[in-house]
């Protein structure tokens, strides 16, 4: 994966977010070395769409989410949101822009102030931006809390520790909604939750998205979760995008060898399904000294000499299906079965 390129960007009128050649680097102490967290990725998200960003720890998916919010500002590249370029905006303008793009985080409990009442936490964005009258704000907060399934009365009396993890994630979602944003970046919002609660929160996000016409960027390492919620999925590896496709298409016919490996690593909750495994050795290399050429070539089952020398560019192999690989699993025609079922299930 190692792919760069912008072939997969769409020229649609209703593009809400467009990221081009985003680079984020962090210095390593005073060594002069740098962590290549994100190395030239491009993405676009249409209004009302959910884009899934998936990959293993250290692939740069969270850094991408934060760099879109300009937290921190990217090293280079462009981020255009609602037609405005964010990377060149000043502090005040950026603060204003962030009311339109909100973020929710992995750990719902530590992302809420433990000393404040839950209702005040949800109210705060409205107070800061002096939206409406006091009565308007009260009404708005109660409505949003009801919407996410939290009793406003209880929220007025309680602090975050009096709620469960799933409820705290609902509160975070309420806080992100009060300013009526057009986009929410969800960074692993359900990874810390039990499966039963995870399903509640995913359903809630789907409902809210429909009701408010939200656009979501959904960052997660769990491929099944990402598939469930996303319209389009980008697979990342070591700071690069390997593959982009509609979510059903990506899972039905993965073209990048890394996507294939990821899909076949998922434990299947059904012992009668025989998974065709594509075992992979080792772990991702260090982003301080990423491999040349395709960054995945050191672990790729199909790597050849060319992969170490030349970086593949993202190219289209099917309708809306892009892959950055010199020797993809398929060229876009033959269907590839990831698993075969020995029973009807």
């Amino acid at each position: 994966m190692a792919g760069t390129g912008t072939a997969h960007l769409r020229n649609a009128a209703d593009t809400l977010l467009r990221v081009e050649n985003l680079v984020v680097e962090f210095p390593v102490g005073r060594t002069g070395l740098k962590v290549n967290a994100v190395s030239g990725i491009s993405l676009d998200v249409l209004r009302g769409e959910t884009l899934g960003l998936v990959g293993e720890s250290g692939c740069g998916k969270s850094t991408t989410g934060r760099a879109i919010m300009q937290l921190p500002r990217p090293t280079s590249g462009s981020v255009s949101f609602e037609g405005k370029e964010l990377t060149s905006m000043g502090g005040d303008q950026m603060r204003e822009a962030r009311t339109r793009m909100q973020m929710i985080f992995q750990d719902p409990i530590s992302s809420l102030n433990p000393r404040r009442k839950v209702r005040d936490i949800v109210m705060e964005p409205l107070t800061i931006w002096k939206r409406g009258t006091k009565a308007d704000r009260d009404q708005r907060v109660d409505a949003v809390l009801e919407e996410v399934g939290i009793d406003p009365q209880r929220a007025a009396e309680s602090q975050p520790h009096q709620f469960s993890g799933g409820q705290c994630q609902r509160i975070s979602i309420a806080r992100s909604l009060v300013l009526d944003p057009s986009m929410i970046i969800c960074d692993e919002p359900v990874s810390a939750l039990d499966v039963s609660v995870q399903a509640q929160v995913l359903n809630l996000l789907e409902d809210l998205k429909a009701r408010y016409g939200l656009t979501l960027v959904f960052i997660a390492h769990d491929l099944a979760v990402v598939k469930n919620i996303s319209d389009r999925v980008a697979v990342m590896y070591l700071g690069k995008i390997c593959e982009v496709a509609g979510s059903d298409e990506l899972y039905r016919r993965p073209a990048h060898h890394y996507t294939n490996v990821l899909l076949s690593s998922i434990p299947v909750p059904d012992p009668s399904i025989a998974v065709q495994r594509h075992p992979i050795e080792g772990e991702p290399p260090s982003p301080v000294l990423p491999p040349p050429g395709c960054r995945f070539h050191t672990r790729c089952p199909a790597a050849e000499d060319r992969c170490a020398a030349e970086e593949p560019q993202l190219r289209e192999i099917g309708d809306g299906h892009f892959v950055a690989c010199h020797f993809p699993v398929h060229g876009g025609d033959a269907p590839v079965a990831v698993r075969s079922s020995s029973s009807a299930g």
Partner: protein, 365 residues
């Protein structure tokens, strides 16, 4: 492993490795007595892999720690019998348990970073139990440590002996934990969420490694996890826990083919399936796990069960045997019963009429 619950007993031949009878672990807290594990009985045969599955707070971790004798010394009230290789270990003190730990039972934990000593070299950490439990001298302990690192597929094993934990990745550290646990050749290995902190590709490697070592060493494996996907492919038998109790237990294939307890069904249905098209509505379980200070009087799942009836709220169902040997469940109106089907139809009609999915997401507040 088979069940050994009063009338539900159908035991395989041979002595079980582990036999639990009415094990209870309660904790004294300012709020009252927390019934974390509340009367669990089962047996586990040598060389088998058992998955213990449940949500946070179901008692699965406390159960495995009760068996290992790793409970906090204060506040825990234990009762019931835990027999390991025919010997009662439930009442042994920490000092006596030291002879059991390592040689007979070992445990690996969820977080490989905090379970290793950050100031001690890898080699020394693996050699330590070999010297203490098996009385090896330093040279042979280090040589064995190197062989163990090779067993768990750590490349350049010799060089790793003199490295510190922070020099290794998360997956490598979990392999070191496994090497330490295997060092004294235990007959049972407890793994408490061993892959939860790891990436999906590394998780698959670690699960394969555990299975391979279990088979090579004819060791029993107890895999404690919240993820039904993890246990489906790597266990012979599964025990589902809810509210401190065993609510269903069966051989893995039987459980997935014919689950009886609506909770097990709900747990499986709430997982997003990779085979389903995107935006498939998930079957969430409404509400929250019970408060174990004041658990519900009847079935502990009743307040969240979409098929609940009056009897469920008033009388606790016993563990009943199902048709297949070794399959037990705790439910008055199990999956497939006429009462279940009646309410399932009712729920589906309600859903079609606009109410939220049969298992409502409401009530979670």
């Amino acid at each position: 492993m088979s069940l050994n619950v009063s009338q539900a007993a159908t035991r395989d031949s041979g002595d079980p490795l582990l036999e639990l009878r009415d094990v209870k672990t309660h904790f004294r807290t300012p709020r009252g007595i927390v019934r974390a594990v509340d009367g669990v009985s089962f047996t586990l045969d040598r060389g088998k892999a058992l998955g213990i599955v449940g949500e946070s707070g179901s008692g699965k971790t406390i159960l495995s720690r009760s068996i290992m004798g790793l409970l906090p010394p204060k506040g825990a009230i234990r009762s019931g019998s835990i027999k390991f290789e025919g010997r009662e270990i439930g009442n042994l003190g920490r000092k006596k348990m030291r002879d059991v730990w390592g040689k007979e039972m070992a445990m690996i934990f969820q977080d490989p970073m905090t379970s290793l000593n950050p100031l001690m070299k890898i080699g020394k950490q693996i050699a330590e139990p070999l010297k203490i439990h098996l009385g090896m001298d330093n040279t042979s302990a280090l040589a064995t440590a190197e062989r163990l690192l090779q067993d768990v597929r750590i490349p350049e094993a010799h060089r790793r002996l003199s490295q510190y934990p922070h020099e290794l990745s998360g997956g490598m550290r979990q392999r070191v934990m496994i090497a330490i646990a295997l060092a004294c050749g235990p007959t049972a290995l407890f793994a408490d969420e061993p892959t939860t902190a790891l990436d999906v590709t590394v998780q698959a490697q670690i699960l394969d490694l555990l299975e391979e070592q279990r088979k090579d060493r004819n060791m029993s494996l107890i895999l404690v996890t919240h993820d039904l996907g993890v246990v489906a492919g790597h266990t012979d038998e599964i025990a589902v826990m809810y509210g401190g109790q065993l609510v269903e237990m069966a051989p893995t294939r039987v459980l997935f083919a014919n689950m009886k307890m609506p909770y097990t069904e709900a747990l499986l249905q709430s997982i997003p399936k990779i085979e389903d098209p995107s935006h498939t509505r998930l079957m969430a379980i409404g509400g929250r796990p019970p408060d174990l200070v004041n658990p519900p009087r009847g079935c502990r799942f009743a307040p969240r069960c979409p098929y609940v009836r009056e009897k469920c709220e008033n009388e606790m169902p016993p563990l009943e045997p199902a048709e297949s040997p070794g399959h037990v469940y705790r439910c008055w109106y199990p999956v497939g019963s006429p009462e279940y089907l009646e309410f399932k139809e009712r729920n589906e009609q309600a859903a079609a009429a606009g109410a939220d999915v049969p298992v409502a997401i409401g009530g979670a507040a």
